[in-house]
Structures are given as structure tokens and as C-alpha cells.
Amino acid sequence: MSILTEVELLRRIPLFSNIDTSRLKLLAFTSERLTFENGAILFREGDRGDSAYLILTGKVAISVGSPNGDVVVASLGANNIVGEMSLLCEMPRTATVTAAEPLDTLRIKKDQFFGLLRDLPQMTLEIMRELAVRLNNVNKELSAAHAKLRAAGLE
């Protein structure tokens, strides 16, 4: 699978959907292609995050720690990205991600991602737009939830 296929896959990620092909190519080129065996751990809850993983093929299980051991809360397949929040801000991983099948990923490192943003203002704008859209969605969901709560007379 060459870099061009990776670009196509990157394009399907909402965060990157509006970005120029050549920029995505650069993102792919500066990223590392990594395969994981079934059961291998991509990162653990509480680790300091320094990269995000785009799943090219395979499936991951997302689990969080509980008093009774790790509990799988979700599973994601190809064309999904995990750990992307650590690209944007310093925070420990909020969940453990494990390969649930043999996994092919593109590892995007924070340093490289920031390097791109620093010098490519349009790309920064695109990311900002995407984040604004997400924020807007979250706000909408939040107010809907409020409305529901109010309707239920709980607030």
C-alpha cells in the first residue's frame, strides 16, 4: 500500500476531510506506517500521548480501567482514528487501545503534526473549522440534553 492509498484513507477522516491532497500526502509521508499483531497494545490509559493512529485495516478494542479490571467500551474498525486528542493538547490517554485483529495503522506524531500546522496556515484554518463544527455539535447535543432534563423536571 503506497502513500497515495494512505492519502485516500486520510481523506475519509472528518478532521482531515477538507485538507488539500498535497498536504495529506505530506502528513502521510511524515507519518510512520505501523503494523500491530492481534492483542498488541497501541497505548495505555494514563500514558502521555504523543501520537494518533489512523486504522488502515483491522480492528481495535478500546477499554478503560475499572475496579474489576479493564472493561471494553468500544471497538473501532478501518478509517477511524484513535488518540487524536493528544495531537492537539497535552493530556494523558483516556483509554487503553488494543489491536483486536492484526492491525495496519498510520502513526501521526504530534511533533510532525504541529510542524505542519505551524507553517501551513490554511491547514490550521481547516482544523479550526473542523473543531468549531465539533464544538457546535457538542453544544447542540448539550442543549438538547439540557432540554430533555428540563422536560423531565430534573433541573
Partner: protein, 885 residues
């Protein structure tokens, strides 16, 4: 600082008296022969040539008649040799050949004298240099800290050099030259009193005026020497501080300083030249005055018949020999003063107060005598700046406990550590080892009984083993050097130590078995947490399979074992092995073609394009157009990806195939590719790009099956047609064979760790370690790691590694008293704790003084000393139970 030192002449005379006298007597014995060579021309011209004494054709003269003039009452003369009678022509030839023989004989004597002088000079220089370095070895620590090493080196190496040349001439040369000048002068005087007198007056004038004019030149010479020495010091600083200069961006400031210094040296030297050549021309002019008088006045005397032509010619010939010696005599005097100044200046720098007396360094072969308890009484110490380090400290240390010394930084605990290493001297009070003065212990005794590890240990640019065993090379050995070199060393006042001999103190090690010594080294390295580092060095090292064929076999065995292990399903993707028949996707195109390792720079993958053989093979295999096409594809991608980045963006270094400065050029090339077509240089520039391309890493999809086959064919042709002169430079990768040019790790791997497999490197390292442990080749790797070169001042090691190595070097001596003074300051707490625990366990029951950087480890020791403001504030014994916690 300036205690008076011996004068230069005193030094020369003291150490070369005998040789000087021998040379002098030969020089004196040469004088009559020299006089004869001057007389003969006159005899030849006046006698056989002009016919004096050959009134008739058959007249004869006695050749080799020797007559000694005696007073009248003894018969007026005594004929030593009657000689034999010769006619005019044979007499001419006899005299001429005698002249030739004399010239030859004089030449031989000169040769003899010069060789002897040279030898004498070299011996004296050797002695002086040794003396100077001996002094450096005895410098007090405070003076060493102030000395600039490059200035000292410049003095020992360059500044004393003229002394060697001069000392051979110190006595003989002036006597010889004065003798020559006097002989010539007397000869002229005998020929003609007035002409002689004129010469004498001119010579005297030269001898008085010239040295006067030269005095300022000497002053300038002195300044020049100081400036040059300081320049050497500055150059040393620039090299030592190179990294900091770059970090602070002060390279132009340094340049300015150098410019100023060079300017000063230029000014001094230029003035020196002006004065020197003025004096020289004046000297020449005065020397030419005399012939003028000879021609004018002498000619007049000949015309008026008061002097014969033969005499005048002889005078002129003799005079020809006069200015030479005189000039050289004056030069010699200049050199004498110059060398005297240099000597004084150098010696001044080598006489600091408080030098260790030589007898402390005397080699002792007596068995180690253990130290008795150490006792400090009212000890006060101050540093160079007058700051109090230790203030009235009383302390008794029986040498059987582990002692922690704690307190805030600068409280005196560091000074206490240094005191045990005799790195500082005390101002008042006494330090006793048993009944002896601690500071008067000989170096041999002190260093055998005490080992010291400070925060900054110096390491020599040798391998780790030698650095570790450095502290065990105290007792001089003699033996293997030739008798001649030993004798010569003694003649030059050097000790008869032999650096080629094995100096290792096996007695202290308690064994001569190299296996046990290695074991001990490994123990110590493990104790200080350095073993795994050394193991890594070992893996990165190259083995010389000629020297250690068995080791090479073991590594190949390990390779087979690893490959077997890598075949298991969980590891099958980790490594792509080197297979002569397969293209390696995890290696670059250049590496794939070369398919071997080399230690020669011209055979490195990145230099391949400049190798004519490579160019030829590429052309032959028709690979060139493909390389150009791949280059085009890479250039296109790079231009697309990087065109918007500022030139200093880190991406260029990390990811781009084309440096930012070359992007515009490639842009032009790509434009031409679409329009006018590529030129020859364009094609060359493009075909370089793909050589670094690694398919698995860069993922541009360039290696199509067709390209792969071509590259494999190129690999084969490259190896098969390799010219004979290149063959020894490369070792191709071969299954089952050790590759001498590759590191041990590469030999075990014989492949590349795959890009794109999560944690492949870590996992491969673990597998390699497992395999090596199973095969029991750990020692072999450690041995290779111990051969790691520490670099100048240990700079190839990290600060942490240096500190650990310093402690290991002290531990290997297994001393009666171990002093550790902030030696682990740069390590993290966990490491520090582990090391302290291991070392204390190892030294149970033996005296150890540990100056701790942080107090939290103190409870592990038998006794704790707490310092405050240079004073011993608390001294508490801990019970073993406490200490065990």
C-alpha cells in the same frame, strides 16, 4: 611564585660537562690544521707558482720539513723532520694535494663535532622536557586548576626546542668561532701589522655596536613568545569550548579576539623584521668595509713594494674567513640571549609553590602496608579565593566503617572528600594516618590504600578496560626495552621505566588469570550499573575475526540461532534478512546494490555515486534511465510536499530527499523535463535521489517488480566485476560467514529490522539478548564493549557513564579506603540508591567514605557526619540494625 632557578648555563654545564669538554678538545685540536689550510695557499703561490726558491730548473725544496724555532742558546732551531726534496712541479702538486687533504680532514672534524653537538643537544632537550613534565606531575592541585593545558603543551613542545639546538653550541661554538676568528686575525697581523690592526678595529666595532642594536630585538622576541603562547592557550579554549561557543552564538566574538591577537603578533613580528634586517644590513656593510681598505691600502703597499702580492692575496683569503666567524659569533650571542630569555620564562612557569617533593613519587616495590586509622585535628582549609572550606574539624576515622558525609551543598563535605584524595591542602591543624603525617605519605602508599571517585573523573583516550585498570599501574616495571634505549634514557636523566612492560598490579588484583580479571571487571560494572551500556557498546563494536576467529564463529552461531527464533510466528515480521537473491525492502537502494559492509568511506552507500565502478555497472545494466525516472518521481513529490516550507524548517533535515537550498534547482530540472528535455547534469542530479530511498519507510511505491529484478542484477554485476583494488575494501553479506566490516549486532542480525512493525527494535534487542545468553557469548560481547574507546577526556561517554566509570575505576582497586565524593551526582535517584546499596554490600567491613549529594541515603551507613558551614555539626554512629533498614 618565582623561586630562583638554575641559570641556563648552569643547567647546560651541569648536565653536559663531559661531552662539552670532549667536543671542545676536538675543536681545539682542529685549529692547527685550520691554520695550515690558511698558510698553504701562500706557500703555493709564492713557491712553485711564482718560483721563489726555485732559481734553477733543478732546484728542490724539502716537502714536509718540520722545524721548531728555539732560542739562540739552544741552537736556534730544532729540525723535527727533514722531509724530502722535491722539484718545482712535483712540489706544486705535493702542496696542492696536501691542501686538499687538509680541507678534507677539516671537513671530517667538523662533521664529527656537529654530530656530537647534535647528540648532546638532543639529550639535553630530552632531559629538560622530561624535567618540565615531571614538574607538571608534581604541581599542586590548585596550580593545575589554573594552568592552561595548551600553554603548557606549547612550552614543553615548542618553546624549549631552541634550547636543544643551542646547548650543543653553548660552549664549543663560541670557542671554535673565536678560535677561527683569532687565527684569521693573527694570520693577517703576521702578514701585515697595519692591515691586521684595521681588521681588528672593524671587528671590534661590529662586536660592540651590533649587540647593542639587537637588544630591543630580544625584547620583541620575548613579547612574541608570550603572545604566541597565549594564542596557543586561546586555540585550546576554542577547541574545548567549541560546543558552548556554538550554543551561545559567540563565534564572531571569538573571531574578534583571535583577529586582535593575530594583529598584535603581526605588529611585533613586523617590527622585529624591520629591526633585524636593519642590523643585518649594517653588519654586512661593516664587514665589507675591511676589503675596501685591503684593496685600497694593501694595493698601495704592493705597488710601493712594502708588501708582496702573495701576502696580500693571503691576507684577503684569510679575511674572507674572518667576517664569517665574527658574524656567526654575533648571531650566536643573539641566540644565547634569546634562549636564555625563553629558558627563564619557561622555568618561571614551572616553579609553583607547594610542588610535591620528588621523593613522594619515588617508585616503591615494597609490599602494600595498610594505613592505620586517620585522624584530623583542628583542621582548617581554605580555597584559592580565601573562602573557608573546613573550619576546625576534629575527626577520628577507624578504617573499618562505612561513613556517610552529608550537609547542604558547600558545607565542607566536598572539601572533606577532596582532603582524603589530597586534592586540597590544609591551612592549619594536622591529618595523621597512624603516626605518619597523612600529607607526607608517598604517592605509592596513598594511592594503593585509598581510591577516590570525584564528580568529574578524567578518562584517557584509551579503551574502557585500560581506563578501568588505570589505577592499578603504579609500580614501575622495567624489562622489555632494549639495553640501548635504557642506557640512553638514563644518560638524559630520564628514569628507566618501560611503558611497553606490563604495569598491571596483579598482586592488588590477586590474580593473573585474564578470565578472572574480566569477571571482576564485569562485577564492578554491574555494581555501578554500567554493564548494560558496555554490552551495547559491544554489540556496536566490530570484531577482528583474524584475531578472534573463535569469537567470530560464535557470533555466526548466534546468527543462526536468532534466525531460527525469528522464524517463529510471533517474530516472523520483525527482521528482513539479507538474502543475496532477494531485494531488501527495509534497506535503501544503495545498500541493496552494495550488499555489503565497509569501513572505507568511499564504499559507503551515500558515497556510491562518486565511485567509478558503480557508474560503470549502472550504465552496463541499463539502470541509469530507471534511476532518473525514480529521481523524477521523488523530486516531483518533494517539490509538491515541501515547496511552502521556510528553508530552515526541521522537516527538510528529517524527511526531504532534497535540501531546501537545492529545491529551486530541482524545480528548474523538473520544468526542463516537461519542456526542453533533461540535460546530462540534470540526469546525474536526478539519479542520485533514489539511492537513499527505502521502500518500506518512504512508501512511494517506486520498487516495481521490474525495477527489483534490475537492482538485483546490478547487485550481482557490482560484486562480480569489482576491481581488484576495491575488493579488500568491502565485505559482502554472506550467509554463514562473519562480516568483519559490520558490527557484532549487524552480524547477528544479518538483515534489517522492519520498518512499520510496532516496537520492532525493542523486541529484536530482547531476542538478541536471549540468544546470546543462551549461547553463553555474553563475555565475548562485554569484552568487545570494554574495547570501546573512551574518546578524549572520555567525551564519547555520557556524563552519567563517566561518573559510573569513575566509581568503577576506584572499586576495581579494592582499596583499604574508598572515598566517593559526589560521584553519582548526575544519576537519577533510583539508580543512585541501587548503586549505593550494591557498593555498600560489596564493601561490608571495609572503610568507605561517601559524600552524599542528597541526605536520604545516609541511613544505610554505619556512621553519619553532618557538616554545616565547614564545621562538623553532628557525628552519629548508627547501629547495624538501623543501617540495615
Amino acid at each position: 611564585m618565582a623561586t630562583t632557578h638554575q641559570s641556563l648555563y648552569g643547567y647546560i654545564w651541569k648536565h653536559s660537562r663531559r661531552d662539552q669538554l670532549v667536543i671542545l678538545s676536538i675543536a681545539l685540536a682542529a685549529q692547527p690544521f685550520y691554520f695550515l689550510t690558511l698558510t698553504l695557499p701562500k706557500l703555493i703561490i709564492n713557491g712553485p707558482i711564482q718560483g721563489e726558491g726555485f732559481a734553477t730548473p733543478t732546484a728542490t725544496q724539502n716537502f714536509m720539513r718540520l722545524v721548531v724555532g728555539l732560542p739562540e742558546w739552544l741552537g736556534s732551531q730544532w729540525v723535527l723532520l727533514e722531509g724530502f726534496a722535491l722539484e718545482r712541479v712535483p712540489y706544486l702538486f705535493a702542496l696542492s694535494f696536501a691542501f686538499l687533504a687538509l680541507v678534507g680532514f677539516n671537513g671530517f672534524l667538523k662533521y664529527l663535532i656537529n654530530t656530537m653537538k647534535g647528540r648532546l643537544g638532543e639529550r639535553l632537550l630530552r632531559r629538560l622536557r622530561y624535567d618540565l613534565i615531571d614538574r607538571v606531575l608534581r604541581f599542586p592541585p590548585s596550580h593545575l586548576r589554573k594552568s592552561k593545558q595548551s600553554e603548557i603543551a606549547s612550552m614543553v613542545k615548542d618553546e624549549v626546542e631552541p634550547l636543544g639546538g643551542f646547548s650543543g653550541d653553548a660552549v664549543v661554538w663560541p670557542v671554535f668561532l673565536a678560535g677561527q676568528a683569532l687565527t684569521a686575525l693573527i694570520f693577517i697581523l703576521v702578514q701585515s701589522f697595519w692591515l691586521g690592526l684595521v681588521s681588528a678595529v672593524v671587528v671590534l666595532g661590529q662586536a660592540i655596536i651590533i649587540p647593542r642594536l639587537r637588544r630591543p630585538i630580544l625584547q620583541l622576541g620575548k613579547m612574541r613568545q608570550l603572545q604566541a603562547r597565549e594564542l596557543a592557550g586561546r586555540v585550546g579554549e576554542i577547541v574545548d569550548g567549541g560546543a558552548d561557543i556554538r550554543v551561545h552564538g559567540t563565534s564572531n566574538w571569538e573571531r574578534a579576539d583571535i583577529v586582535r591577537r593575530l594583529g598584535r603578533i603581526f605588529d611585533i613580528r613586523f617590527e622585529l623584521y624591520q629591526r633585524k634586517y636593519f642590523v643585518k644590513s649594517l653588519n654586512n656593510f661593516m664587514a665589507q668595509m675591511t676589503p675596501f681598505i685591503f684593496y685600497a691600502a694593501g694595493g698601495y703597499f704592493v705597488i710601493t713594494g712594502q708588501l708582496d702580492v702573495g701576502q696580500l692575496v693571503a691576507v684577503i683569503v684569510a679575511y674572507k674567513d674572518l667576517p664569517g666567524p665574527i658574524k656567526e659569533l654575533i648571531d650566536w650571542d643573539l641566540q644565547r640571549q634569546d634562549v636564555q630569555i625563553k629558558y627563564d620564562q619557561v622555568m618561571d612557569q614551572f616553579q609553583p609553590d607547594g610542588m610535591t617533593p620528588p621523593e613522594h613519587h619515588e617508585a616503591s616495590k615494597e609490599p602494600r602496608s595498610p594505613l592505620a586509622a586517620i585522624e584530623l585535628k583542628n583542621v582548617t582549609a581554605i580555597d584559592d579565593a580565601g573562602f573557608t572550606l573546613l573550619d576546625d574539624v576534629d575527626l577520628a576515622l577507624p578504617l573499618n566503617q562505612t561513613v556517610a558525609v552529608t550537609g547542604p551543598g558547600g558545607c565542607g563535605k566536598e572539601a572533606l572528600g577532596q582532603l582524603f584524595a589530597r586534592q586540597i591542602s590544609i591551612k592549619t591543624g594536622t591529618v595523621k594516618a597512624g603516626d605518619d603525617d597523612f600529607f607526607a605519605l608517598s604517592e605509592a602508599t596513598a594511592s594503593r590504600c585509598i581510591a577516590y571517585a570525584g564528580p568529574e573523573s578524567y578518562f584517557f583516550p584509551v579503551n574502557l578496560t585500560e581506563n578501568l585498570l588505570y589505577g592499578l599501574k603504579q609500580s614501575p616495571r622495567d624489562g622489555v626495552a632494549s639495553e640501548r634505549s635504557r642506557r640512553e634514557a638514563i644518560r638524559a636523566g630520564n628514569p628507566a621505566f618501560d611503558a611497553e612492560a606490563d604495569w598491571l598490579d596483579y598482586e592488588a588484583l590477586g590474580t593473573r588469570d585474564p578470565k578472572i580479571i574480566l569477571e571482576r571487571l564485569v562485577d564492578v560494572l554491574t555494581m555501578v550499573d554500567l554493564e548494560s551500556d558496555v554490552y551495547q557498546f559491544g554489540l556496536q563494536a566490530r570484531l577482528n575475526p583474524k584475531v578472534s576467529a573463535e569469537a567470530a564463529d560464535r557470533i555466526v552461531e548466534a546468527r543462526l540461532a536468532l534466525h531460527e527464533r525469528l522464524a517463529a510466528p510471533d517474530a516472523v515480521t520483525l527482521v528482513e534478512r539479507f538474502d543475496p537473491e532477494t531485494y531488501n525492502r527495509n534497506a535503501s537502494i544503495a545498500e541493496n546494490i552494495l550488499f555489503g559492509a565497509s569501513i572505507d568511506p568511499i564504499m559507503q552507500p551515500h558515497n556510491l555515486t562518486s565511485l567509478p565502478h558503480f557508474q560503470r555497472v549502472v550504465a552496463e545494466e541499463g539502470l541509469e534511465q530507471h534511476l532518473v525516472a525514480m529521481g523524477q518521481s521523488i523530486a516531483e513529490t518533494m517539490l509538491e510536499l515541501f515547496r511552502d516550507f521556510p528553508p530552515d524548517h526541521p522537516f527538510f533535515d528529517e524527511f526531504s530527499f532534497i535540501p531546501s537550498s537545492e529545491l529551486p534547482a530541482y524545480q528548474q530540472i523538473m520544468k526542463r523535463a516537461k519542456t526542453s528535455g533533461l540535460t546530462y547534469p540534470d540526469r546525474a542530479k536526478l539519479s542520485v535521489l533514489p539511492l537513499r530511498y527505502i521502500e518500506a519507510r518512504h512508501r512511494l511505491g517506486l520498487i516495481t517488480p521490474d525495477i527489483r529484478e534490475r537492482l538485483l542484477a546490478t547487485r550481482r554485476t557490482f560484486a562480480e566485476t569489482l576491481p581488484a583494488n576495491l575488493k579488500p575494501l568491502i565485505s559482502f553479506y554472506e550467509e554463514g560467514k562473519y562480516n568483519a566490516a559490520a558490527s557484532i549486532q549487524d552480524n547477528i542480525l544479518m538483515g534489517r529490522v522492519s520498518y512499520g512493525v510496532a516496537q520492532a527494535n525493542e523486541r529484536v534487542n530482547v531476542l538478541i539478548r536471549e540468544v546470546l545468553d543462551k549461547l553463553d557469548v555474553r563475555d565475548l560481547i562485554i569484552e568487545a564493549g570494554l574495547a570501546f574507546h573512551a574518546g578524549v577526556g572520555g567525551k564519547r561517554l555520557t556524563t552519567g557513564q563517566r561518573q559510573k566509570l569513575g566509581l568503577a575505576r576506584a572499586l576495581i582497586k579494592d582499596p583499604q579506603l574508598l572515598v566517593v565524593n559526589g560521584a553519582l551526582a548526575n544519576l537519577d535517584d533510583q539508580q543512585k540508591t541501587n548503586i549505593v546499596d550494591r557498593v555498600l554490600k560489596h564493601r561490608a567491613g571495609k572503610a568507605t567514605i561517601w559524600v552524599l549529594t542528597k541526605d536520604d541515603l545516609a541511613d544505610r551507613f554505619d556512621r553519619v557526619l553532618v557538616f554545616e558551614h565547614g564545621r562538623l555539626a553532628a557525628d552519629r554512629q548508627q547501629t547495624l540494625r538501623e543501617a540495615a533498614q
